[in-house]
């Protein structure tokens, strides 16, 4: 599958897909999208990169082990839930803060943190499976 065209295009394609996945993640609260679908897009981006250029460049680019990324995602999601308990409301209650930046209000929330956690879990888990399979396919 390592044709010249695929190998040339794959890095651009993958980086665009990762960028797009972040966009999908962030718009998710009001438009179609969200952490799960964003995570799937990013995971396919890494899978494509891996198929085109081999597994080790992907691992280098990711820097962390994908399972560690998934773990950190799960921890973020858990923290997002636990913060509510510290604030004295039931577990997983959404908390919101509005930060004014350049005249606009930036809405941050534990819900966002939770969604980012979902994103990381999906990216990490699926990427680690895909990379492990690709690794064995090529060795």
């Amino acid at each position: 599958m390592r044709t010249l065209i695929f190998r040339t295009v794959a890095p651009y394609l993958s980086s665009l897909m990762v960028l797009f996945s972040v966009f999908v993640l962030l718009r998710g609260h009001n438009e179609p999208g969200g952490g799960f679908i964003g995570g799937l897009i990013a995971a396919s981006a890494f899978a494509i990169y891996g198929i085109a250029c081999g597994v080790s460049p992907v691992r280098r680019a990711l820097f962390f082990h994908p399972m560690a990324i998934a773990g950190s995602g799960l921890m973020m999601a858990s923290i997002a839930g636990l913060v509510s308990i510290l604030a004295g409301v039931p577990f997983m209650t959404g908390l919101w803060v509005y930060i004014p930046i350049f005249g606009e209000e930036l809405a941050l929330s534990t819900v966002l943190l939770f969604d980012v956690g979902v994103y990381f879990v999906v990216v990490g888990a699926i990427t680690s499976i895909a990379l492990a399979l690709e690794e064995r396919a090529t060795d």
């Binding site: 929330s109 999906v122 990490g124």
Partner: protein, 788 residues
Amino acid sequence: MNAYMPSTTFFVLLSPFIAALFAPALTRLFKHNAAWLLAIVPAAIFWHFSTFLPDVANGEVVTGGYQWIPAFRVNFSWLIDGLSLTFALLISGIGALIVLYSGGYLKSHPHLGRFFSFILMFMGSMLGLVTSDSFLMFFVFWELTSITSFLLIGFDHKREASRRAALQALVVTGGGGLFLLAGLLLIWNVTGISEMSLLLRSHTALADSPFYIAIFVLVLGGAFTKSAQFPLHFWLPNAMEAPTPVSAYLHSATMVKAGVYLLMRLNPVLGDTVAWETVLPIFGGTTLIVGTLLAIRQTDMKLMLAYTTVSSLGLLVMLTGFGSEKAVEAAVLYLVAHSMFKGALFMVAGAIDHEAGSRDITKVGGLMASMPIIFAAAFASAFSMAGLPPFFGFLAKEEIYAGLWHVEAWPLLLTLVAIVGNGLMFVIGFAVALKPFLGEKKAPGDHPHDGPVLLWLGPAVLAICSLVTALFSELTHHYISSPMSTAVEGEAVSVHISIIPHIGMPLYLSLVTIAFGVVAYRNVDRLRAAMTRLLDAIGWGPDQGFDQFIRGTVRLSFRVTQVVQPGRLEIYMKATFILLAIAVMVPMIVFDELPAMPKMPEYLSLYETAIMAIAAVGLLSVLYAKDRLTAIVSLGIQGFAVALIFMLFGAPDLSFTQFMVETLSVVILALVMTRLKLTPTDHRSVGKTAIDLIISVVCATAFVLLLLSVTQLPFDASLSDFFTRYSLSIAHGANIVNVILVDFRGTDTWGEIAVVMVAGLAILSLIRIRLRPAVPIATNDPSEEERR
């Protein structure tokens, strides 16, 4: 609830666990002298509980506690009446002495700190058990005593015998705990009561219930396993593998009495029925006789004492079940007496073992001069055990005969059983207390002597207690015996027996017992030989039965595993899909819920038709694909078509996800294909293909029917309305699907991503497994294991 000192009692109940936490550190600092510090905890508990004595003696019942899970009416609550108070005092009082004794007995043991920790944890569990008011708390502490007992029996975990004994005790008492749990839940269901104190006021609610027999059997299942009734007694002698302080504390004075405690506690509500007054004396009486006979056969002092503990527990069960007020008084007195003399005798046996180098009565002798204090304690305790004045055991035995004696067949039989049992216990008591001390001096160890104060303090204090409680019997009865009997009987009882012998039937029966005991003592060697011959002739006991049971269970589970987990993916998938089809189809047919034939849409737009055609083409090419890779990709075509349909019908999120999932499935399936090095083409025989075809068609039909009948139900829009209304206003999000996922049902998603993560880990490890041909895969076959 009475608010009498609630917080102090709570802290007191907690304190042994706190002490257990610090015990290892203290032991590292002070070596075995940490015992003096740690004994302060049980001593303080003893002092705290003794402050309840005056109130409880006046007939008061102290309760207190906190709400634990209010929604289920589960409380952390305690009940202190005569019964629980006596137990609490025995546990903490003897506990303090045992902690001190452990310091002497395990003086230079490398894990002394751990030992202190375990024994304090046990103490806390046992205290919790006897003071629990709520059923759930009672059960939790009941199981905690089993677990801590497991840790203590297996303390010397490098010996196989210890490990086996620990496991055996855990299996038997833990299994009994499950019976107890079922029994308590049944009581809870039948009466709606979850607290002992309320249950005791429910009069005959349980005895009249149609579930009485079930409750009765389940409660006995718990009590008989814990209190080692025949034929479940075998774990108790085996538990003597534990260090002697454990035997003295758990397996004579406290834990094994938990079953008796349960029976006594429930006597007012479960007792007074034919079942209770028949089953309990039969099991108790059998245990009494079997226990003493097996004790005669032993020469190891600890084992002799262990078997007499079994028989004493039998005697207690028998008396509790007999039903008369006097019998209950006798059970109460004997329970207190037994805790004191048996605890002391065990510590004596341990001290002899420690100082003289053996605890076999045929190997040690003539130690009286070198171990005077131990001898005095042993002698006094044996007097109490034999039921001789002026010790507390005498009061108990007089009351036993007073309670049992009636000129009727059943009481006469039980009286006879009691005489034989008591007579044989007389023999054992003196065999342990006299044989090692009298006669020609012999000891495997060098310089036998009384040893350090830590070693002799426990037995000495307990022996003195046996004497003092009997001498001041009026006070003992006022504060201990009468309140406890009242609690067990369920109505006011006052105990009067004193050490001054009264001419009457009980005294004559005592004399008969003593005469029988003396004769038997002189012939103890002959009796032992006879018993050995008898047991050899039988050749099988419950102990072997336990092993056979465990082996059988292991073999059975191996066979079952071989059937249900054959390790072939093909079979797993077939089973899953067949069950799925059955689960969906059968209820629909049985309950006549098959959907009506759907109407064909009148107008189908061109692109809708086109998309469906694409899906159909995708599916057909799956069926006709020459190799697997083509099939996988073709399946993807069908998936994409479905995603398009989602898009057309206004579910962009769903369709979006479907696209990504399809893409990734194709990629990952293709990777797996290359990874697993499967043959590229299908190699199933025609027959197999036909079976698989049938399964898949049935599954597919089932799902079509299910979906059709779901859409034909009237649509309940209340949830969607709720989400539509509140998504933006309270969750600040316009995309309802995402808001549901991350906010309204965030906890669900949280669980799901945890599953994703775990599944990822599992798959990763499966991929990474590299089979090494040199190491054969373990089959876990028990017969292979036994051969090894």
